[in-house]
Every structure is written in C-alpha cells, then in structure tokens.
Symmetry: C2
Subunit: 321 residues, 2 copies
Amino acid sequence: MTRELIERLLKGDRRALARLLSLVENGTPEGMEALRRIHRFTGQAGTVGITGATGSGKSTLVSQIAKEFHRRGKKVGIIAVDPSSPFTQGALLGDRVRMQELCQDEDIFVRSMASRGALGGLAETTMDAMALMDAFGKEVILVETVGAGQDEVAVVQATRTTVVLLTPGTGDDVQMMKAGLMEIGHIYVVNKSDREGAPGLTQQLNHVLSLAPSKAWNPPVLNTVATTGQGIAPLVDAIQRHWKFLAESGLGAADNRQRIRHHVLSLVQQKFLQHTLARLRANGTLESLVNAVTRGELDPQSAAEKILDNLFAPSKTQPSN
Amino acid sequence: MTRELIERLLKGDRRALARLLSLVENGTPEGMEALRRIHRFTGQAGTVGITGATGSGKSTLVSQIAKEFHRRGKKVGIIAVDPSSPFTQGALLGDRVRMQELCQDEDIFVRSMASRGALGGLAETTMDAMALMDAFGKEVILVETVGAGQDEVAVVQATRTTVVLLTPGTGDDVQMMKAGLMEIGHIYVVNKSDREGAPGLTQQLNHVLSLAPSKAWNPPVLNTVATTGQGIAPLVDAIQRHWKFLAESGLGAADNRQRIRHHVLSLVQQKFLQHTLARLRANGTLESLVNAVTRGELDPQSAAEKILDNLFAPSKTQPSN
C-alpha cells in the first residue's frame, strides 16, 4: 500500500500527499517507510519559515506570499504549525480555515499541524512533512508558526530562510525582539505598515540590526500591508535573493548538512527511546528503579545509569562511564 | 570540594546553594555528583508552578505569595524560569531584579534560570534546582514561568500545584485559555481584579471550568490585586488546601512517581546521547552517514538505524528491530 501511495505522491496526487502526511504525523510504520523511500526525491524545494506574534496578520501574509510565488510559476505548499497547543489541538483553527480559503483556488496545498510526532519534536515532524511536499513536487514550502519559544524557533530553523514578522503598536513585538528573534531572522517584515507606529518600528529594527556584527548576509527590513498585498512582491524578491545567496556562498550547503546532522541525531534518540521503553516495560526494571528513587534509596542519576548499563550490558563487563 | 559544598548546603549556607545551583545549571560533573548525594534529603518541599502572560503582574504576585508563606513561618525559595529566550538570555532581567528587591529583606532565595541544562530540557534543570533548594531546607518552592508553550507547561508540571494567572483586558488571556491552559491549572487567579473586565473574566473562567468533567479536585478561580496584596492570603490558603488534598487522596504520591519516572527517562536519554556523540565523533561515523544522506544515497531513518546498530553491535549478531 505504501508503495502505491508513494507512486501516486510522486505523480502529484494530492490525496496521496494528504494521506501520507497523516501517516507520517501519526508516526505509523507506513509513514516511516514512505519517508525512507522518498528521501532521494527531496532536497530541491525552497523553504521559508515565518514566525510572528498572534494578531500580526501572519496567516494573511503567508497566503499572499504563497500567491505571489504561484504567480511566478512556482508550485507552493504551506505547513501551518501550532506548537503552543499541547493539550487542545486546533486552537488557531479559525486562522487556518481563512488561509485555506485564501489559497483554495490556486492549487496551493495547505496543511495544519498541531501535534509533535510519535516521539520526536515538532521540528522533526515539520521536516518530515516538508520532505513529503518536496517529493510531491512543491517548489516552495512555507512553514508558518506563532511566537518565539524554543519549539517555534526550532521549527523555523528547519527551513532555509527565516522571516520574522512584527507589527506596530503591539507590546508583543518588543517582547519578541527581546526574546532573541533578532538573532534568527534572515528577513524582517513590518506588517500593517499603514499603521501609525510603522516608521518608528522599522527604524528601531534597523537600529537593533545595525548593532549586530556585520555578516555575509545582512537581514533587510521590509514593509508590507498583507491585507492589500502592498510590499509582497519585494518580500518574495528578498526571499529569492536569500536563496541565491545561500547557493552561491556555499552557506546553504553547510546549513543543510547541519540540519541533516541534527535530524539524524534526533531520530537516533527517538529510536533509542522506543527500544529502551519496550525493553524496560518488558522486564519491569523501570518500575522497580522508580520505586527505589521514590523511597529515597536511589537517586535519579544512578537509576538512569543502571538502565543504561542494563541496556548495554551484554557487550561490556565494565560500565564505560 | 563537592562534599564540603553539600555539607554547607545542608546546614543552610546560601552561598553554597548559589554555587551548587550554578554547577548544576552548567551541567558540571560536580553538580551531577551533588544531585546524587542530596537526593535522600529531598521530597519534603511544597512546590508551586505559576504561569501567565507577560504583563500579568506575575513577578509581583509571586513575590506576594512568597511573603505570605514567609509570614506563615515557611522557608521560601523562588525559581524564575525564562524559556522564551534561547538566544539572548536574561530578557526579563528587569522583572527579576524587581522580584529580588521585593524579597531581599525576608530571607527568600530567588534564582533566575534562562538556559536549558547541558543536554536536558528546562523542566529537568528546574527539577534539579528544586532538589537543591529542598535539600537546603526550603519548605516552599515557587517556580515562575511565562506563557503557555510546551517548555513552560513542562516547567510548571514539574511542581505539585500549577497556578494559572490571567488579567482582564488582554487578548493574551483568551489566547492562553485557547492554548490549553484550562487543562493544566489546579488554581486559576484573575490578577489586577480592580480593573474593569475582572468580573467578566472571572465568570468566563468559571464557565469554561464548569464544562470540564468533574474531578476529585475542582480548580477554584480566585481574585487578586498583587500590587496591594488583596486576595493573597486566600490564594495561599488554596495552595495549602491543594497540597492537603494531594496528600490525603494519594494523588500526590502518584503524581510524584510519574514525575520521577519522567525524570529518570530524560536522564537516560541525555546520558545515551552523550555516550553516542562521544563515540560517533571518535570514529567519524556520523560525518560519513551525514554525507551519504546529503548526497541522497541514504535516508535519515536508515542512517539513524545504522548508528544504533553500530552502538549495540558487539552484543548482537542480528539487529533486534
């Protein structure tokens, strides 16, 4: 079944893409098998991560960017990630629905994700979803997320180009600037630039960026009004300029290696944990160690080491430490 | 040196506590050794996690709770966690300084943490810091964090009692309610209750909570004005009532086991990753596999499996799968 689904995916069948995204998101063996098989068809898509506070007009902006790429003849996919909702999924459903509506006429594939993968983080699941869209034939993949927590930063950093979105007149933006977003953006966008505080915020951003040490790529600050489409074409120009820069400087290849290294190590950790849990459940070790820690007879560090010794035991007579 | 520091810690020496917190936060071997040795002196402190949006008056409220516990004869420690800042640490420094000032006269120990541990998550580092404060002799430990991301939720859930703070007239609060905070709180607090929208927000919270299935503990909604101290005593009453409930129902012991289980498994993962990275760096396996994935000759899943096979190799002739 996986084989047939993959064949359909590679031929550009949207339903096969939707089905495989679900299989991957749910951590099924079929999904994992699909990821294995499609890997050699990936690596071509240009990817963009877009983050900003709620209420910054992000969904509208992302829709506009998607449409502009579409006008430039690109096949576009959108992944909307909502990591702030570990319990009630779908908190931002309204936004997603609006985005879906904005994009439905133009063959722009939109996918929402609110959950981590079976065992991995949200960034890993996002990478897997991007791989599927890439193999499907999407040439541009936009990943949208909310806020500036560690999860959100990990998500946008799984893409080539990070766009940080701010809006005038919201305290949130100062908060985001403080919270480290000034270090991660390749492009800064002041949306709702028809509002009063826009020139001030733009100036402030330029000032903060000017304090950073000069780099090979100096992040531009752009102005948009997503609702009218103003400034969208220059923004898409800047994204394409950044991709060109990455390709020509060789930094793109280095970034890519770094992402792959991180992804492989995450998978190692996931698989190890799966293996460990299965084994510990089977032999009851975990519960007896937890009991000992609860009673204060053993500390958590030593309990963890006993588990590792046990796992690696057959291969060693001495714990390697 | 560790032994002497621990002796001083157990005698209530503040400088020893500060030094050990740094050693643990930086993931040093001395810190790990200290955690091992103090484990049997922990488990007594009552712990409270407090989360709310920025601007909700959280630092002031936490200071007031600390002072009220102090008035009730308890030794109090505060851990202020700032997970939203993976890059520039200390974004909320101003708040922390204010809190420190509020608490300095009353022997309330305040510690700020902005970084994850060496390899573990912020929740794990917070648990370690709580263990040190507990062994030091703090009877009440307040853990404060901002927002409702996965990191923040993990941090507050490392404590016995989760207090969720909201303020009238901020869209943030609706966002937080949507984002799943209605499932994690044991106590809800409407701060700045002298403001216009307070009765409405209180009513709204009570309504949302009334929709949840009835449980053994039904979270109360309390009103405070942290700046004047109004409502603080009833809030501290509610926290103590929750602790009593946990003790009498046996749910506290079950929660504690669950936290210990999670902590031990996190440590297993950390230590495994450390071991793996050291070995992979030594033999160059990781780089050659990353190269193969980059060239599309190997998929990330298979690369991860090769690494695991390699690690467990001496003990098996067949990969167990």
